[in-house]
Symmetry: C2
Subunit: 83 residues, 2 copies
Amino acid sequence: MTVDQLDPTPLWEQLAAILRERIRSGDLEPRQVLPSESQLQQEHGVARGTVRRAMQALGEEGWTVTVQGRGTFVAPRESWPKG
Amino acid sequence: MTVDQLDPTPLWEQLAAILRERIRSGDLEPRQVLPSESQLQQEHGVARGTVRRAMQALGEEGWTVTVQGRGTFVAPRESWPKG
DNA sequence: GAGAATTTGTACGTATGTATG
DNA sequence: ACATACATACGTACAAATTCT
C-alpha cells in the first residue's frame, strides 16, 4: 500500500490515510514506533516534507505523538478520535 | 516590529506572535485581509515557508481564515481563542 | 565521557497547480 | 491574457535531541 501519484488527493493526505489505517487496524500498536521519516520517504517515494505533513496531521488528530530525536509513536487509544 | 534572528524562538513562532498581537490590538480587524505572503516575507526577511507556517498556526488557533486564491483574513471575534 | 549515527525541527529555495480579480 | 495569492511537492542544509558505539 502506497501513494498514487495520479490520484488528485494530496500525497500527504494519502500517506496520512495509509498510516492512520495501519494504526486503526492494529498493524501498529500503541506505544510502538512508526517508521522514521527517511524510511517512509523511501518506501513511498515522496519528499521528507510530504512525510512530515502527513505526520503532522496524524499528531493533530491524536493518533501519534512525536518526540525529537526519538521518533513518532502510536498514541494510547484514549487519545484516538471517535472512541 | 519584526522577527529577531538571534532569538532562539522559531521565526515562524515570532511572526505568528506579531500578527496575533496585531489582530488582538485591533490593528487588523475582523474580515480584514492580512498582508500577503510575499509582503510578509519581504517585510520580515524570511522565507515563504516560514510565513506559511506562522499563518497556519494562526488559522488553527482561530485567529484567521485562509482562502486559496483570495488571501488570509482576520476571523470573526467569535472564533478567537479565550473570549 | 567522547564521538558518530539516527531522527525530528527549522529554514530556505524552486517549481507547478489552482483560484480569483 | 495577465497578475496576484494560496496549495502542494520537490530539493537542500543545518540545528537539536536522542541513541548507539
